[in-house]
Amino acid sequence: MKNKSQFVYVTYISSTTEKVWNALMDPEMTRRYWAHLNVSDWKVGSPWKHQDSSTGETHLVGKVVEVTPPRRLVITWSAPGDEGIEEKHSRVTFEIDSSGKAVRLTVTHDELEPGSEMERGISRGWPVVLSNLKTLLETGQAMETKPLFEFSRK
């Protein structure tokens, strides 16, 4: 049963479901808290890519699996070099629920290869991305992203 690994991350953000939803897909927003542009037309079956905002290099690719605005987004996720290798594709589910005055954002990353470079990378990366997204939406300003992502990549 446990041949693939799964991670679940949650953050509570004082914002609206629509703003959080938009922040996942608007490349101008993702640039500010993620240092990457998430580029896609966000239609089911379409490709998406995760592009370094300073070099333009593509670091991740995948397909859009499910789009239910402003609640649920499911995408596949892999390194560009593994695009043709199905078993190396993992899956990310974003769920947005209102929770009192705040919004609860849950990120479930599953179908990961245990012990892989990707597993190591995402388990360092998600806490950085989510706390930075929270800061951006709550204060209108993101932390400087470059040192954050140097840390998470190391």
Partner: protein, 105 residues
């Protein structure tokens, strides 16, 4: 943030987080095998960890799986660690790990 510090202040709760870090997504029964406490006590600790958002639970059928959620700990890190200190702290941490590894042999 108070809830996070309160949750982390107890060694049993830190042990629970360590167990989830080693193997994410465990059920209560799995966690109890490594702990010297009753199921009731473990449940109580897990509730506190969940209230602090350090543990997230997901139902899979009739099983309740527990996941480590380090996002609030990262928020603490962000609050007190400046951007220029990060790489130096990382280097110090790596050095400590390296030296202590040899010492233990």
């Amino acid at each position: 943030m108070d809830r996070v510090f309160k949750a982390l202040a107890d060694p049993n709760r830190r042990k629970l987080l360590d167990l989830l870090r080693a193997d994410n997504g465990q059920v209560l029964g799995d966690l109890c095998r490594h702990l010297d406490m009753s199921r009731q006590a473990a449940t109580k600790h897990l509730k506190l960890l969940e209230a602090a958002n350090l543990v997230v639970t997901v139902w899979r059928g009739r099983e309740k799986l527990h996941y480590l959620n380090p996002v609030p700990i990262h928020e603490i890190y962000e609050r007190w660690i400046g951007k220029f200190e990060r790489s130096r702290l990382r280097a110090l941490y790596d050095l400590k790990e390296e030296l202590e590894k040899d010492y233990e042999k």
